[in-house]
Subunit: 352 residues, 4 copies
């Protein structure tokens, strides 16, 4: 089969022919129908310091996908052959204290698809049966593929108390704008979005942001003070990892507020714990991955009920063979979610 | 009356004669029986940058005290004249959104005794009646005085889930060791204490720490790993404000753990949000003041029941006139709680 | 002034002339502009066993109102004269452990307007200044008056986790249908309403119920099973106090679900704790009054933002002098909220 | 092997020879070293209405046990052969929404050892590998066996906020007195125990109850009022299922209090929701089984640290062949935990 792989340390990927993966006794083999690009994939493509530290080539990359179950190991009773599934990319051990207590997203033995084991940018991928989440057969493949990333948004927005609250979401990339949609669906009184890209702020507005702010143009703190009667926001959802966004976000947070942090900052940076957290009596949550499997159930409800419409997030589709163009677009930032199709006849929209 | 005052910007205090304060309609006049020294008082004495920014001389300093109600304003029905009271040092507005919702400790209109209005190092002090917390008449005056500070310990230790958990308390000053005693009383499985002072670590052990660690001698992370079977601690209570303590503390925290931060760091410093909070899925609480009045009720229960014995925390007593000696001792760090008596005949132990 | 009073035990009210109330030092005098009818008022009118046990004539009845501050006691600094205010009907002591800890709604010393002290069905009423909640000057008087009752709805719907959940509200009287509107505004996935009155179920649909069920016609449990894929509801909000509604509601609740109970059952009745609560691992919340003052802040946000539109709840308006017709209508059940006007020139809609 | 079985509907058990159970691919075979008696086992022995409704003979009874792993199915990697394990009696499906979200104790597909599948009163029992909880090799067998029941106590006491609170435990049978020990270990300010048996109240005092009350002698509500300064208890832990205990317990609960209910009442009975729950603003938790596997981890910590000493709970030991004497003793109520040994040479104390 064809697989997009990192063959050795350094930038770029290579499309190569490799054998179809063998299926372990507790695994299923998934024929990949659609596979989407995450910021992490871009880091691996560019081979940034994080990637150099965490990824050991050779490896097939990619971790967001949907596809059809075509083979199963001896111990697997579900999902059945032929079922459309999305895949949870974190393969956990099921036996540590975290897995044993409903906190599998914190499993210290986690292996991530496309980072620690062969991933999704290929015609086939083998994953543990429990990681294959059955989808409705008529779910659009782009949406099915990006559910893994949507799960980050749902996880983040379901930790603080959102209902009836004023919420600032810093960062309007794909996961940021999906988070805004979730916040609105969960009863946020108002959602304020920031980003340095007007392209992305337009997407934020489409996905439900009531106010969009561009720090290149707007004094974030003055504007937030204005629109909140000087009180600040109840909740900060930080999706960018930019230190400037963290600073503006915490400055906007009212005393007693809650902040959930998903964006990775890559490095330590000067952070004022006194003003940002202590004097405010703030509560701050670190967010990683998705609750296994609470978040997947919540996603199902949000999508099925129509409370969240993810269609506008998917802005571009590519033949997997055109991956270079797809990654170039990702680098430009002028896109929402980018989805690739190993077999372009399955594309659920026009290809770029 | 005599009052210890900061008359102008710069180090030191001066003992001067001033009129007895007038009592407002909602206030009581308290004859001060005992008044203790907090780290903040030392900052004001030394006139560090924080003090220069926040304190406007001339002002009578001091904010921890106990005394007897000797006069009351027209609207006051309780506490009655003659009642022994301890004083909550945060004077709040009762009308903001925080005060209206049981979060008075976050009132943006807070005025603090000895910082924003005349304080406790004097023969008399006027405070709002609601800030005068009735004590049992036979409570030792040293204990009654330090309750305000004990409240910081109780507030900190009652935010995370402590019962049955392994708890690291970084910083073994007076509020740190009181926090350890509270953690034990609330069912902590084990309490680990750190400090750079062996004097203070001894006090930590007396107050209930199961293990004491001195970073000058011990590799904190290796030792914590050893004594927790490599798992780390469930809870971090940070009482020191030292960046090294914060780093060691977060490194010791297990995935999914909780951290409550009371110690002030004074300045921004390089802090790794990814490793400390985000990847861990940690929950971090900023702690300020005391819950009004939940914390005071909890203090009453802990003291009255004998669950916490605060007597060992009080290591030195001084005549208020000997304040210079008291502050010199505070600067040395070779002390627990230091209590001063405007009328030394009320001292509940030998004077230094 | 005119006042509608219960002069002696037994059914009915009498309109009499009484002096304008004197204003205590911490009170304001409110000129009543609108005053609405609650189920409790009907019980007092009819003199049911609860009323006979709790109300001591002679007393001016009524506890839901809005009006203008026309006089203030010596200690009152706000609200100012001329301000439109709604009134919290529970007068609490401010000094018990509950009032001191943000749980004033549980104050054991509560005195209720129109039950324990002279109430709202009059030209003027005196209330503690803290019970007079400032409204926007342009708030419709009917809405301003019923806020007290709306607060029951907001309190009930903000206790369980509503966002993204399937919610059953049993009882579609005025407080029930307002609760449905709040549940939708707070992100409920779906709201199911029950009532024996089709008139009320129509109002439920207008206020946001996705499905309405009449036990006279529908097998509640079969229908709930159908529309929830056999899973049951996540949340039960019980607003009726009817034992049949409690039985059907708990039967519909899924394992691990949450139930908030506001409706009063009047009497003990055979209740199966095993099946309803224990085997389900359910969490059940008793709800009384409004959180002081969290709920009032939440109401303000829900109304001001347009998240909840209360206009359809007000179905009838009367001149206070026509109170007999108003109570007759209440007895019929063919109404939503009924509002009376001491001075009918202030009516914000056509009088019945 | 020998097995104690219910062969047909009706009272009593029969000791018979049956084949050693076959081990499924995900199961382990445990050689039973000790097996203890629960109230449920007594119900099955006596064949009360609950047993007649739920148990389908023929079946080997018993669900509390410890033993050594002697065989494993093909898919099992842990626990290893030779390991001492205790057994979680609830066999859950791992695939329902509850199992998938850390709420396995609510799995609707639960099969219980000795109720729905062959159980522990035998020389060998086959259980899923995940239900075999590794114990320290030197754990006394009586303690290891009763952990399943201890888990009910831990689950109940870890739901409400116990630390620093006054706790009433109604019912001083084995699970009741273990709950008292847990409440003390978790920092309860005071624990009050009730029971109609003075034998059991003595055990309650040994296990940590500060005050014991016998309703045959004491007016529970007056006594609770006395010892709580008229305030009532913060927390009720109901372990008896007796309607009189529920009534006394709720009457003693203070406004805003929390109640966790584990004892089964068998039947509906007249319960006053208004006074017990609604007017009090109480929170009530139904408790079933043990959190899988949070509770087992908590048990390990409580036992290993010495915070709870379960030795006094085990009052009697029997040769399994003497089961009739053991059940007779259980019927008398004059016992704590009763443990039986298929091979009496493993008894960790003198046999009765």
């Amino acid at each position: 089969m064809r697989a997009l792989r990192k063959l050795e340390p350094g930038p770029g990927f290579v499309m190569v022919d490799v054998p179809i993966p063998e299926v372990g006794p507790d695994e299923v083999l998934v024929e990949v129908r659609a596979t989407s690009i995450c910021g992490t994939d871009l880091h691996i493509y560019e081979w940034n310091p994080w990637a150099a530290d965490h990824v050991v080539p050779p490896i097939t990359v990619g971790h967001e996908l949907t596809g059809v179950v075509v083979d199963r190991g001896a111990n697997v009773s579900e999902p059945e052959i032929g079922r459309l599934v999305s895949v949870e990319s974190h393969v956990v051990c099921n036996s540590c204290a975290w897995c044993r207590t409903g906190q599998g997203h914190l499993c210290p033995n986690t292996a991530i698809l496309g980072v620690h084991r062969d991933g999704a940018y290929a015609e086939y991928v083998a994953v543990p049966a429990q990681n294959a989440w059955p989808d409705p057969p008529d779910m659009p493949l782009s949406i099915a593929s990006l559910q893994e990333n949507f799960g980050n948004a749902v996880h983040t927005a379901t930790i603080p108390n959102i209902a009836g609250r004023k919420v600032l979401v810093t960062g309007s990339g794909p996961v940021g704008v999906m988070t805004m949609a979730v916040a609105k669906a969960l009863g946020a009184r108002a959602v304020y979005a920031t980003d340095v890209s007007d392209y992305r702020l337009e997407l934020a507005a489409v996905m439900g942001a009531d106010v969009t702010l561009n720090p290149a143009r707007d004094n974030i703190n003055e504007r937030i003070a204005e629109i909140t009667d000087g009180e600040g926001v109840d909740v900060l959802l930080e999706m960018s990892g930019a230190s400037s966004a963290l600073e503006a976000g915490f400055a906007a947070l009212k005393p007693g507020g809650e902040a959930a942090l998903l964006g990775l900052t890559s490095d330590a940076f000067p952070f004022d714990l006194d003003d940002n957290i202590i004097f405010k009596g703030a509560t701050v949550y670190g967010v990683v991955g998705r609750r296994l499997w609470q978040t997947w159930l919540e996603m199902r409800g949000l999508i099925r009920s129509g409370a969240v419409d993810l269609a506008p997030v998917v802005t571009h589709r590519f033949d997997l063979d055109d991956y270079a163009k797809a990654f170039e677009l990702m680098q430009s930032g002028e896109c929402g979610k980018v989805v690739m199709f190993p077999d372009p006849s399955y594309a659920d929209g026009p290809l770029s």
